[in-house]
């Protein structure tokens, strides 16, 4: 029996760490295991994928996982950018960090087990914060244990706790209590898929000379990367254009006055740091 797991997160949330921790726990429970990140440009805030394979026989497959049994989604916002249900096997399990109910999700498969848990809430309650942002990767491992119970491949919660305490040292106890809480709070239901299946048409293969053309938003609307929101106080602003000159994202436009393009601003706050009049205020950005 082989279980393959896919982790979805955003750069910096710890999807890769979670996949490593899971592989370690599985190894200690007596399984063969492997863990690998998706290789690409690893950037903060960008969608990140990581994979784990767990089996009771030696593993010879080393490719990335295309048809997972289990999918773990660390960030609810990622649902808008990535199709998390793609390739999930029939009867597989999808664990989502969200405040929604399992019934609220639609997918193409006939039946899937959906587990929802508010891991962000659990992290905040347990004071599990890193640089002001909630750490959701370890709490999400709690509900993952439940998914393995469904597969008849039990992993021990005690082993997970031991691995986490060893890895994080002092902060280990906070992580352990968060894992336990998330394990208990997880809500699981078997849901029937409602969305219609897309028929894939055969595409013609054409050979073109590869020329790219300039366009805005090659990485999509990068506002999703924003954790902090800059806001210009026009009463203080003296139109020195310093923020426009220094903006790394070209997201400040000069019309009659400087304006921030909130569709693309990544919230790096260079404008706020550079402003000589301190006219750029900053606040927390919340999308979901």
């Amino acid at each position: 029996m082989m279980a393959s797991i896919r982790f979805h997160g955003r750069g910096g949330q710890g999807a890769v760490t979670a996949s490593k921790l899971l592989a370690e726990v599985a190894y200690m429970s007596g399984y063969y295991s492997q863990s690998m990140p998706f290789f690409g440009a690893e950037r903060r805030g960008a969608p990140v994928i990581a994979f784990t394979r767990i089996s009771d026989e030696p593993l010879f497959e080393t490719s990335q996982v295309y048809h997972p049994n289990i999918v773990v989604v660390l960030d609810p916002v990622i649902l808008r950018a990535v199709d998390i249900f793609s390739g999930v096997k029939e009867g597989g399990t999808v664990i989502i960090n969200t405040t929604k109910k399992p019934e609220d999700f639609e997918f193409e498969q006939d039946y899937l087990n959906i587990i929802t848990v508010d891991a962000t809430g659990v992290a905040i309650e347990n004071d599990l914060l890193l640089a002001g942002l909630p750490v959701v990767n370890t709490p999400m491992l709690g509900p993952l244990i439940r998914a393995f119970e469904l597969l008849n491949m039990p992993l021990k919660l005690e082993l997970l706790e031991r691995v986490v305490t060893r890895k994080f040292g002092k902060a280990g106890m906070k992580n352990v209590s968060a894992i336990k809480q998330a394990y208990e709070r997880a809500e699981m239901k078997t849901i029937r898929g409602k969305r219609k299946r897309k028929r894939r048409k055969k595409e013609k293969i054409t050979v073109e000379f590869p020329i790219s053309f300039p366009s805005e938003g090659v990485a999509g609307k990068t506002k999703m990367w924003r954790d902090f929101r800059p806001e210009i106080d026009y009463e203080k602003c003296n139109d020195c254009l310093s923020c426009w000159l220094h903006c790394p994202e070209s997201a400040i436009r000069v019309n009659d006055r400087v304006e921030i393009d909130y569709e693309y601003c990544k919230g790096c706050l260079v404008c706020s740091a550079i402003c000589p009049k301190r006219a750029v205020k900053t606040g927390r950005e919340v999308f979901a």
């Binding site: 805030g45 053309f213 366009s215 938003g217 990485a219 310093s242 070209s250 393009d261 740091a273």
Partner: protein, 306 residues
Amino acid sequence: MKISEMEREEYVLPGNTACHGCPSTICLRTVLKALKGRAILVIPACCTSVYMGPFPNSAIKVPVFNTAFASAAATASGIKASLEMQGDDTEVVVWAGDGGTYDIGLQALSGAAERGEDIIYICYNNEIYSNTGIQRSGATPFGAWTTTTWAGKTEHRKDVSEIMLAHGIPYVATASTGYLKDLYEKVKKAKEIKGFRYIEILAPCPPGWRFPMDKTVHMGKLAVESGMWILLESVNGRFRFTGVSRAIAEGKRKMRDLEEYLISQERFSHLSKKEIDEIRRYVQEKWSRLIKLEGEVDAAIAKFYV
């Protein structure tokens, strides 16, 4: 020059995949504004070749040729030769990281400089291979942490701007992300000169140097003010300091303490007193060598023209 007089057109489009607070996008915007978009970029493997996005889209509004790591200057020479035959005077600009300049691309760079190709070579130097995950490069300073130098690098950095000075090319300049107006003027000046022109920009990388993402510009300023990075310019062999570095060299301005620069980055957080003294010695030595060079050049020119 006032900021309001600068080119308003954006040549690096929003929505690219660069990190928060990326110095490379800040500088590339300024460089392309200074060239008014009349340029063909040649980009070897570096962060820029990634953040400009996947086929069939590009986040850069000028023609870009993506080439192999080692061959940026050679590719640019070929493109320029072709343009010359067609009677086109578009500027060919190499935009390379420090990996593609200091280590892998050095022989092509030196060859093109020696042949006197009519191109602008710009190196944005973030002192690491940051695109592949923060490995050491020839530009990494002594004592800096990278993923391949866990206890701090044990060698000093080499200085390609001095190597290019030795080539005797018409224009060599260094700039910093902290002083964009200075960079803008230098690129404009380089545009007016014919021959091989080399500009190097210090680009403080927030994830690689481990400092908060909003401090990119601040760190570029601090590097110059503390003397760790020196702004200089050499036009047809006439070598001089520029901007803040000039004020420091002339004694009009006091250098800020080097420790202030080192402490503000986590990559230097493990340094001992001895290692900080070693960096201080290196910086002082570099300054005294360059100040001597400036004096000698002045004396030689004075003698020649009498």
